[in-house]
Amino acid sequence: MANPLTPAQAPQTSEKTKQPKPGKTARIHTVSQRIVEIVSDSGEGAQTAGQLFGSVCAKAGNGVWTVEIIPAEIEPPSRSRAGASGNRIRFSSQKTRNMGDKADVVVAFNDQVVYGRIDDEAMGPGTILIIDRKWRNHADENIRKAYIESLEDFEKRGYDVREVPIEAETLRFTENPQRGKNMWALGLLCALFSRDIEHARTQVRAKFKRKAKVKGRADAIIETNLKLLDSGYEFGLDFFDERYEIPAVPWKEPRVVMDGNAAIALGTVAAGIEVCSMYPITPATSATHYLAAMFHKAGGFIHQAEDEIAAIGFAIGASYAGKTPITITSGPGIALKTEFIGLAVMAEIPLVIVDVQRGGPATGLPTKVEQGDLLAALYGQPGDAPKVVMAASSIGECFHFVITARKIAESLRMPVIVLTDANLATGQSDFPLPQFDEDWLSPPIDQSPWEEGVSPYAWDPETGVSRRPIPGQPGGMHVLTGLAHDENSRVAYESKINQQGMRMRSRKVAAFASTLKPPKIYGDEEGDLLVVGWGATRGTIEEAVDRLRADDEKASAVHLRFLSPMEPGLKDIFSRFKKVITVEVNYSDDLDDPFINEENRRYGQLARLLRSQTLVDIDCWTRVPGKPLAPGLVEEALRKKLAVMKGEE
């Protein structure tokens, strides 16, 4: 979890750029992209170094996408596979929208965390592994032996192993290497990738200025860290025979880089929301941490409730009183909010609910990625509870969708669920600097007298939409109720009234659907294979499709932002492809599993919805690895599907 008090990005400074000392003459290759991981035991700061390196790359004009490498425990034992903590940074001279496949370079503070990355299939033959050589001389013989054995194994696996005196060098500047190695390593990476060291220094300065402010000895800390950075950098210039340059993307607009939870926090500010009501839960909480650090400056208030039920209840109260709120949670929290979401639908209470999905079911994989809550978002409530469900596919969308969701919630008078996931939540990426728009903010709360004769649910018969009286408005008095009710919000048991209420609530969704446009197709408008996705997999799917297209396969992709209602025109789009398949990070049976056939197969969640809605025979390829899908994995799966198709033709 990133410290909310120390966002990864420092403000721009205009200090003069100091020219670094040139090192030995190395071959500098210009390449279009690289994937770097930096991993350590938890507490050794690889996450910070990774975040800073990501920022430096972004600053250098590269497109970046980072993925946090998070151990399960808070302080796992040192030198353990499961304890690997750090960051993966993919940066390139293009827009970068997924984590990529195998790492090109891994910087590891010990050999065991490397195994954590191997388990995660993060490395492959050719990966440059930069590792601290300190273990060679470790006091404990077992550790020495383990290290040597690991190194042999690494060679066997085809990694390009480079031992480097990370700790030894760090000790030249600080007594506690645990708190310095990361900066040295950052310097090393800056050298390897020909980054502007002054950018890095600015980042480091800003980072520790904030951090040190709390602990109160800013200058000394900054000084030490800068020394470490420079030392690593110079070591690198000297050490590497081959170095790399990744040209900047020719961006047209100014950009920002942040993680998805920060984007949600900023979206909340931008949407004019005043109340965020929450109960802590991984991986959603850090969004509220960001918010907590600054929301008060806009007069906003965060309520940490006694549980998730109270959190949404409080939000609903605030909404009834005229202040459309946000509540941010993850799967188990959504489960607990089920009943209140039903009430919000029934009584037509605007509300923004963010579900930062994690691995399920139950407690599942709390820190890991999954897209498993789609059906629960749509169908979790007993009874018919139509609502709007949308899914962000990028960090920029995390920001913008909160704004959109508040507007939809208020104009349709219903809860809107925004789905994101652990991948977006903790990964960083760049997107265009949002240009503030007055229209984003909610209008000030209306306290003028309510129009006489207008009932509190004066449903427009065509659209189901009605305006709501807010306490304080003279003449608007009514009793909101979760019981079936008529236009006047009077409890009613008559058949017709029940049917009408249901119809009006459903109609709002249909009316809203009529305002949506068909989704854009990525690739050709027709072809052999259409890949359908939703949520954070967008960049991955599109990269896989790009690779197929590079091989002249007729593949395209389409990505859905709205899941309820769905964007129109899907059936028509699907009809133009020989095969349609969803790629999702949730569970589906495979067709060759025992007992499984097409009729009883449990499909991926989006596939189930699309099959029902379009009757197109949509296949699915889904996996639940607890981590983002690599584009290569998707590519491989799609290639197999194409091969089968060709075999059959």
């Binding site: 005043e274 208030f301 109260g317 009834y320 005229g322 304080g472 003279p474």
Partner: protein
């Protein structure tokens, strides 16, 4: 009350609200149900205090007693079983201007809602909570509630409730942040009104347990008290609830109790000297969470835009 409201002192524009202005559709409780008395008291309170109906919200959960808001002509929120308090807290969060009342039952508050109850006491957000305690689940037709006395026969415990009922007063008094705890009975309209009035004026979370008759399912729960008022003890004190001389006379037993004395309140809650009726505890200086929650209300759009831009700038590359 009784013409004491000096109409001529009001500005000509300010309307004078009559009982009518608070009276919603005909209430649908069983004949003899104690809820009627509370409804009347609440309507009187609103009239006496001249609460603008549009500035007044009655929030409830689910239960017979939670039908309450429907019978008022103010704003109302009839939500989910057990969840009145989070909703009321959310309403209060950014609306210091509203008058907020909560109607909740012994099942609604002390069973399914008990987490929210405990925490609402902690938060001490300004509102009046009327906890209708009829010792039973009325709306679902006769099941044991947490306040049902041991041995009470209900449909879920036809051979008698297996454990003692809990004491909502004692539990509330144990929560740090507690600032107003009172007990009253539906069958003494004067005390009831006086109690709700005191609760209304309390600057914080005012929890009032109302011993409420349910002739349908627990006809004998409070009949002994009605028949024999000496089973109750009226709490008297200059800082307590003053229902007037005529009301006081109805209670043969009185206990002098200073409502600022928390320890004393806990002893009284044990009811060794009779069921207490009156103000057990009151402390006006307990910090209020609604002060924290409303602290940003004066922020401007400019503040927000500035924050947004400052933050975006921070993340800019």
């Amino acid at each position: 009350m009784y013409g004491l409201k000096l109409d001529w002192m009001e500005t000509p524009e300010a309307p004078y609200y009559t009982l009518e202005d608070y009276t919603g559709p005909e209430a649908r409780w069983c004949p003899g149900c104690g809820d009627f008395a509370v409804l009347t008291a609440a309507q009187r309170l609103c009239r006496d205090e001249q609460l603008a109906p549009e500035k007044t919200v009655f929030v409830s959960g689910i239960g017979c007693s939670s039908r309450f808001p429907h019978y008022m002509k103010t704003y109302g929120f009839h939500g989910l079983h057990g969840r009145a308090l989070p909703v009321a807290c959310g309403i209060r969060a950014r609306r210091p201007d509203l008058n907020i009342f909560v109607a909740t039952g012994d099942g609604d508050c002390c069973s399914i809602g008990s987490a929210h109850w405990i925490h609402a006491v902690r938060y001490n957000m300004r509102m009046v909570v009327m906890m209708f305690d009829n010792n039973v689940y009325g709306l679902t037709k006769n099941q044991t509630s947490p306040t049902s006395p041991e041995g009470l026969r209900t449909y879920t415990h036809p051979r008698g409730a297996p454990i003692e009922g809990m004491d909502p007063l004692q539990v509330s008094l144990a929560v740090r942040g507690v600032s107003f705890i009172a007990q009253t009975v539906d069958f003494n309209p004067q005390h009831l009104l006086a109690t709700l009035t005191a609760a209304y004026h309390h600057p914080g979370f005012a929890f009032v347990r109302i011993l409420q008759r349910c002739p349908h399912y627990t006809p004998r729960a409070f009949a002994p008290l009605q028949e024999n008022p000496s089973m109750m003890s009226l709490l008297v004190h200059p800082d307590g609830i003053d229902g007037g001389e005529s009301m006081t006379r109805l209670f043969p037993n009185r206990i002098e109790h200073d409502p600022s004395d928390l320890r004393g309140a806990r002893v009284i809650a044990e009811a060794e000297q009779g069921i207490p009726v009156g103000l057990l505890y009151k402390n006006d200086s307990v910090p209020r969470y609604d002060h924290a929650s409303a602290s940003g209300l004066s922020a401007t759009r400019e503040d927000r835009v500035k924050l947004l831009e400052q933050q975006l700038d921070w993340f800019r590359i």
